[in-house]
């Protein structure tokens, strides 16, 4: 298939792997930020092609994984209300809250629907004026423009029965949190190509400079990732720490300006708790005052809460690249996709789920 097959070419992949091995003289630890990249790395076995000196650690860029359990509980509370149609992207439905997940709400009669776009949820709201339609707005900068557009449209068309449960998170503050942690071992980053398609990469330039880490904006296909690793290793070996763009077919330095304008119109930067990591200042998006009537938390009068998570789950350490999934004593035994202790075992983009699904028996891989 065009635009797919050429980025999965076996001979070229082997060629890139050899090139990486040729320029590698020291041990390097590189983090891919995005869960989509983690999934591709494990699914295609990209890390198996790399020289032993290079360790890939998996970052916090899985929106399903970092959505805090308190917000999942709020989603479950709203979805359980009799007059509500609760719309969500598919992979949020299996994420465990403190007592159950959204699929269980559906099994108990709640009207929980999978949608592919927030605009579909808005359409459902227009078609069901006597029901409250709530969309679960999760994700990084990638999904923010579409979610902003849905709210903006609802505002323009005066759709009163539509609201968002917002759990948006931002990449750069999470990278800074990882880099400033005393346990940090990340020496270079592959930044998330889709996020940068929207936001550009100027906001990464001060981070690269401040922490002296190379950051390579990278795509999601095997050859993208191998090329991103090559560019990152090359910088590390040469002692450089620039922001470079591997994903040139999609990403411009300034990003998608129109999309950014829409995000700024609808959302403002707020502090946000990350599941397994804790609160990171200025790391999330919330609705601005102008759009407050579309805030589901306000509409349903939900109160703040705090939930204790499984003490055995090391999701926070996995999401910060400090531990690999198989270093968790519960991995594959007390924690499986059927009975997850933490979110990284749920989402197909979660690091634990990717390891469980693709290489359970080879823990040393």
């Amino acid at each position: 298939m065009r635009f797919i097959d050429e980025y999965r070419d076996a001979a070229l992949a082997q060629h890139y792997a050899r090139r990486i091995a040729q320029i590698t003289t020291k041990e390097w630890t590189i983090m891919e930020v995005c869960g989509g990249q983690t999934h591709a790395i494990i699914k295609f076995g990209i890390d198996e092609l790399l020289p032993k000196q290079i360790t890939l650690v998996h970052g916090p860029g899985c929106p399903v994984c970092v959505t805090p359990v308190e917000i999942i509980d709020k989603a479950i509370e709203i979805a359980s209300c009799p007059n509500v149609i609760f719309c969500s992207f598919g992979d949020m439905l299996r994420v465990p809250g403190s007592a159950k997940d959204l699929l269980s709400v559906k099994a108990q009669g709640g009207d929980v629907r999978i949608v592919y776009s927030p605009l579909d949820a808005l359409k459902i709201a227009k078609e069901n004026p006597d029901r409250e339609v709530v969309f679960f707005a999760v994700g990084f900068e990638t999904t923010a423009p579409a979610n902003a557009m849905a709210v903006h449209q609802a505002y323009l068309h005066n759709v009163k029965n539509f609201s968002l449960l917002v759990a948006h998170v931002l990449v750069p503050p999470a990278m800074e949190a990882i880099l400033s942690s005393p346990t940090n071992r990340v020496q270079g980053f592959l930044a998330a190509g889709h996020v940068c398609t929207v936001m550009g990469y100027t906001e990464y330039e001060p981070i690269a400079k401040k922490y002296r880490v190379p950051i390579v904006v990278t795509g999601f296909e095997p050859l993208d990732i191998l090329q991103g690793i090559y560019m990152c290793v090359k910088q590390l070996e040469e002692g450089r720490y620039d922001v470079e763009n591997q994903y040139t077919r999609s990403v411009r330095r300034a990003g998608n300006v129109k999309a950014q304008e829409l995000i700024r119109e609808v959302f403002c930067v707020v502090p946000r708790k990350w599941r397994g990591i804790g609160e990171i200042p200025q790391s999330g998006l919330g609705l601005t005052e102008k759009y407050r009537e579309f805030d589901a938390e306000r509409k349903f009068g939900l109160t703040e809460r705090s939930v204790e998570e499984s003490s055995e789950c090391i999701a926070g350490l996995v999401l910060q690249g400090v531990k690999k999934p198989y270093e968790c004593p519960a991995f594959g035994t007390r924690c499986t996709p059927e009975r997850p202790l933490g979110a990284p075992m749920v989402s197909s983009e979660g690091a634990c789920a990717a390891y469980y699904r693709y290489r359970r028996e080879r823990r040393d891989a």
């Binding site: 797919i4 076996a10 989509g36 999978i114 499986t336 197909s348 983009e349 699904r357």
Partner: protein
């Protein structure tokens, strides 16, 4: 995985107090339900074969017997409808036993308010499918439930076929060294249904692969191919079927991802939705485990029916119960069974 076969009382599946949709999704939860609840309660020598249908001898005649229920939404979709599925699905289960399908039953659960015209179209479709598959519908049943208690129409069919050969076609006949042949491209039925159900529009309409498999299987038998096992790829797709067989046969199955044919439009839809075509449902595809010596002849026969048919892998001794896949870029990984339903990803 001996835990899966353990029977404990009184309710063997304690972690799920309620049935979830995933219990019917063809993945691990459904298998847990079958193994721990149904299989344990009804245990007998025929059921323990874990085949698509039971095979037994009655007064010297070798017969195959199977049943399936059909609950598809929408009732009509590109390339088929619930009636066609209800005939071909059961016919295909018989074919997977290496049987010549003969007779089917048809049970209808109709929802109050179902337009008569809709039922008529379904019945006409079943009639045509029965003619194509050379079977007769010889008994049936009708029930009507209150409006809101059904999804228009549910159909159950059961079928009987006759086995006219001496092979034991069963997962337990699979041997290391066997070739794994796939009868055509995968993923079309699941994507066709999802496209209609979710209102996804593609440049060209993707049609279900819904088709009877008995003709090609009977041809393989007629040509005396040494078939060890057949399995149609329905819910859970190719990956689940291979995992079921690897576990039942205590063998390892190794396949090559780049050898698995996936049509470009299906691949495109899967890329957009974040789905893996190896887990997407089919209704007219199967895998055949054949003795290595017959690989070329069997492949030629399969290709006569579907040009996309391919040799996708081999059976190995170790590690038992596991399916491994050589990825497109040449690395090895596990091809696991899905734990629940495949859910579209966020981004």
């Amino acid at each position: 995985m001996h835990d899966d076969f353990a029977l404990s009382c009184p309710i063997p599946i304690s972690e799920y107090p309620q049935i979830l949709l995933a219990h019917g999704g063809g993945g691990k939860l459904m298998h847990q339900l079958i193994e721990k609840l149904f299989g344990a309660a009804f245990a007998n020598q025929y059921l323990s074969e874990r085949h698509d249908g039971a095979q037994f001898t009655l007064n010297g005649a070798k017969l195959a017997f199977t049943t399936d229920s059909y609950v598809v939404r929408p009732l009509f979709f590109p390339g088929g409808d619930i009636g066609k599925l209800a005939i071909y699905g059961t016919v295909n289960d018989l074919a997977m036993c290496g049987a010549r399908p003969l007779f089917l039953s048809a049970g209808f659960i109709l929802e109050e308010g179902l337009p008569m015209e809709t039922l008529w179209r379904i019945v006409q479709s079943m009639k045509e499918a029965a003619q194509t598959a050379h079977i007769q519908i010889v008994t049936g049943d009708t029930k009507v439930v209150d409006k809101g208690k059904g999804d228009g129409v549910f159909i159950n069919t059961a079928g009987i076929g006759v086995i006219e050969h001496d092979l034991t076609i069963s997962p337990k006949s699979v041997r290391p060294g066997d070739s794994v042949l796939l009868s055509g491209d995968v993923g079309r039925h699941g994507i066709a249904i999802m496209a209609v159900r979710e209102g996804l529009a593609f440049e060209s309409e993707i049609e279900s692969d819904c088709a009877p498999l008995a003709p090609v299987v009977l041809k393989l038998l007629e040509e005396q191919i040494e078939i060890h096992c057949l399995r149609d790829l329905t819910r859970g797709g190719l990956a689940s079927a291979l995992n079921e067989i690897a576990k039942t046969a205590h063998v390892s199955i190794s396949i090559d991802e780049s050898a698995v044919p996936v049509r470009e439009d299906v691949q495109g839809a899967c890329e957009i939705l974040g789905l893996d075509p190896l887990y997407v449902a089919n209704e007219g595809r199967f895998v055949a485990f054949v003795a290595a010596k017959d690989t070329e002849r069997a492949l030629k026969i399969l290709k006569d029916f579907s040009p996309d048919a391919a040799l996708i892998g081999h059976v190995l001794q170790e590690p038992p119960g596991m399916v491994t896949l050589k990825s497109r870029i040449g690395a090895q990984r596990i091809l696991d069974m899905l734990s629940g339903e495949q859910l579209p990803r966020i981004c």
